[in-house]
């Protein structure tokens, strides 16, 4: 794929130069020229008012027969004989995608380990139609060499169309190695997957600023469209892998939906006998240590509880800390709270602080100045607590609570673990 400027149509307006996220376009005289940094993302094609830039697709000439590849595999990551939550999420997502491709496309869970056959039932319950079991004493603990070898061998034998991995510290170690060995593409940290163009259009219309008028909802293409954040979440990119198979993605934990488990569900079990020898594994796992979660930095935090001038004093942060500890979150702050000396600058969120995008952001006693919003608008879920119903923070909040944070926060902590019961009660 390549981006070309149609010289006759280019008016030299430089809109594309400014629009390019990769700084890849320069003006050569009065005509735009695409430079080496181009990734063929197509932003310029959409922005050009004169239709002077086009995307040229090329032929598949790499000798890969795409039609040989079938089914969706999920690397069902287990640690110490327990499945990771993301494996079940991916089985759910894999099931959804498989059915979008065709009725006879199956979602398969690939379990690698030693004495892990008991995990198959859990995979079936969450939607796996087939389990590929790869067992060997040498595969008891994850090793890059061991797991790469057996997984690559299995992929070469069964030829899946798509392979999904959790973007965990294990998935992100294994997947690039497997992709390199299979000579195929891999997209990291996806937050959205589509196979049907029509589903992609629906998603894009609901959640993005993308102009979808150039996409055809009846396009028969079922290649995977993998959407992921880039540039620290400032830009989203949808990546495809049109010429190579399998198509591979790692997917962030917590973003895909598990299916409702069906107890006693059964599927097809395929036991794949790996060829693996001790000499294949060049690293030695000396010990595996589980530790209580340490304080994580703001950028990696899943939950952030932020306080502003509305706390009124330093002790307010003790209240927030108490709540944050209870729910596994870390403390953030507005600049006003930092300037008041109530908390260290390292906690500041915003234009002159840290840019964050946690799963949940609690803004407590923060008015929502633009400089603050600049640093937290990318959060998946924003909950704002403020006395003033007109505070601008409510303009970006998914849930707004008007009230005194000193009353709300203690109650929230108290009720937090009751959420399931409250939800069940509300459903009745």
């Amino acid at each position: 794929m390549a981006i070309k400027v149609i010289n006759d149509k280019c008016k030299g307006c430089t809109i594309c130069v400014k629009a390019c996220p990769f700084d890849a376009i320069e003006m050569k005289g009065k005509i735009a020229e695409i430079g080496a940094a181009c990734t063929a993302c197509g932003v310029c094609v959409a922005k050009c008012p004169f239709e002077a830039i086009e995307k040229v697709e090329d032929e598949n000439d790499n000798g890969v027969d795409l039609s040989e590849y079938k089914d969706i595999w999920v690397f069902a990551e287990q640690r110490q004989g327990k499945l990771m939550g993301v494996a079940l999420e991916l089985i759910g997502e894999g099931y959804r995608l498989a059915k979008e491709i065709s009725d006879d496309t199956k979602v398969c869970a690939v379990i690698v380990g030693d004495n892990v056959a008991h995990l198959a039932d859990e995979c079936y319950a969450y939607g796996a139609e087939r389990v590929i079991l790869i067992e060997d004493p040498l595969l008891k603990n994850f090793t890059t060499d061991g797991y790469t070898k057996v997984l690559t061998d299995a992929i070469n034998e069964f030829k899946p169309e798509i392979v999904l991995y959790g973007a965990t510290h294990i998935g992100r170690d294994l997947a690039p190695r497997v992709a390199a060995r299979c000579n195929t593409g891999l997209t990291a940290d996806c937050t959205r997957l589509d196979v049907r163009v029509s589903s992609y259009i629906d998603f894009a219309n609901k959640n993005t600023t993308l102009d979808t008028s150039t996409l055809d909802p009846n396009d028969p293409d079922t290649g995977i469209k993998q959407t992921r954040p880039a540039f620290g979440g400032n830009l989203m990119a949808t990546i495809i892998c049109p010429r190579f198979r399998p198509q591979m993605s790692t997917v962030r934990p917590g973003v895909m939906q598990k299916r409702e488990p069906v107890e006693g569900a059964k599927g097809e079990l395929v036991e794949y006998k790996p060829t693996i020898a001790a000499a294949d594994i060049r690293t030695e796992v000396v010990e595996i240590v589980k530790s209580a979660k340490e304080l994580v930095s703001l950028t990696d935090a899943e939950i952030i509880v932020s306080g502003g001038r509305g706390l009124g004093n330093e002790e307010g942060f003790a209240l927030l800390k108490d709540f944050a500890d209870h729910i596994g979150g870390v403390l953030g702050a507005s600049r006003a709270a930092v300037d008041a000396g109530w908390i260290d600058h390292s906690h500041q969120v915003g234009q002159t602080g840290t840019t964050v995008k946690p799963r949940i952001y609690f803004a407590c006693g923060i008015s929502g100045a633009i400089q603050h919003l600049a640093g937290m608008q990318g959060s998946d879920m924003i909950v704002a607590i403020n006395k003033d119903a007109d505070a601008p923070i409510f303009e970006v909040a998914d849930y707004g609570l008007v009230g005194d944070l000193y009353k709300i926060i203690p109650l929230l902590k108290e009720e937090w673990d009751n959420a399931d019961a409250l939800f069940d009660a509300s459903a009745k």
Binding site: T184, T238, F394, A419, F423
Partner: protein, 271 residues
């Protein structure tokens, strides 16, 4: 024979200061500084730490990027690296991680041949802040046929300099791994605190060799690099929709507010 350490480093835009123009939905790049990627600074620091600790260690930094990336390499030399290599060529532009690793591997092999040495230890940062893929390190290791340990938060090289013991970070703890050299390690910020350049370092950087090589120089197979050779392509790119106003929770008491919030969070599967 010297102990040779290679550090893979990338020059990146500082994504913490990138802003979106809310009207046009495009990135504002003006005034965005280019920096040495954060995790790569930790990778370099670890190499320099080993150089401080042991005799006769040579640290080489390799990068792929535009000619301006030489500034970043000069910074690495000023921090204490001994020599730097930049592979810079239109032909490698637009590469995805697979094609990037092909270009880097060709460069590394060329360096080994040209300089008559083989690298005993290869460091990379876990990931670069512009792409966040964490794929290039492992893919370089695969193509050099080296064992790898990613997410390294602690690292020690034995006295014989033929084995490293590392702590590899996991979401729920860590594992201790032993691996023989040569091997690839990818660094995370917990590994160390990168040093600053010193005045002497800045002066001496000028006298240290920086090689700028083209695709032809490193004899890379042109069908394995660049946009055309990349298995993955960007299909579309866009800015996330500005966050719309959500739901103001209506309630007559704080308790009701809290209960309704929790039910909402539960129904949206965020908790």
């Amino acid at each position: 024979m010297a102990f040779n350490i290679l550090v893979c480093a990338k020059q990146v835009p500082d994504t913490n200061v990138i802003k979106i123009n809310p009207k046009t939905g495009t990135l504002i790049r003006d005034g965005v500084p280019s920096i040495l990627n954060n995790d790569d600074a930790n990778a370099l620091e670890e190499a320099l730490r080993i150089k401080d600790e042991f005799e006769d260690v040579v640290v080489t930094v390799v990068s792929m990027g535009p000619p301006q990336a030489q500034d970043m390499l000069t910074e690495c030399l000023a921090m204490g690296a001994d020599e730097a290599i930049l592979i810079s060529d239109r032909a490698v532009g637009g590469s995805d991680t697979q094609a990037t690793s092909n270009a880097l591997v060709a460069t590394i092999k060329k360096a080994e041949k040209e300089m008559g040495k083989s690298f005993d230890l290869v460091f990379a940062g876990r990931q670069a802040i512009d792409g966040d893929t964490a794929q290039v390190g492992p893919q370089v290791a695969e193509k050099l046929d080296l064992p790898q340990v990613t997410y390294v938060e602690e690292c020690s090289l034995n006295a014989e300099m033929n084995e490293v013991t590392v702590k590899r970070n996991l979401e729920d703890g860590y594992e201790v791994i032993k691996v023989k050299t040569p091997c690839m390690l990818t660094a995370i910020k917990e590994l160390n605190t990168p040093r600053y350049m010193t005045i002497e370092g800045i002066f001496s950087a000028k006298d240290k060799p920086t090689h700028v090589w083209s695709a032809a120089d490193v004899e890379v197979d042109l069908s394995t690099v660049g946009l055309e050779a990349s298995p993955t392509n960007v299909f579309r790119s866009f800015t996330p929709a500005p966050k719309g106003k959500g739901e103001m929770i209506e309630a007559t008491s704080e308790k009701e507010l809290v209960e309704k919030l929790l039910v909402g969070l539960k129904s949206k599967h965020v908790i």
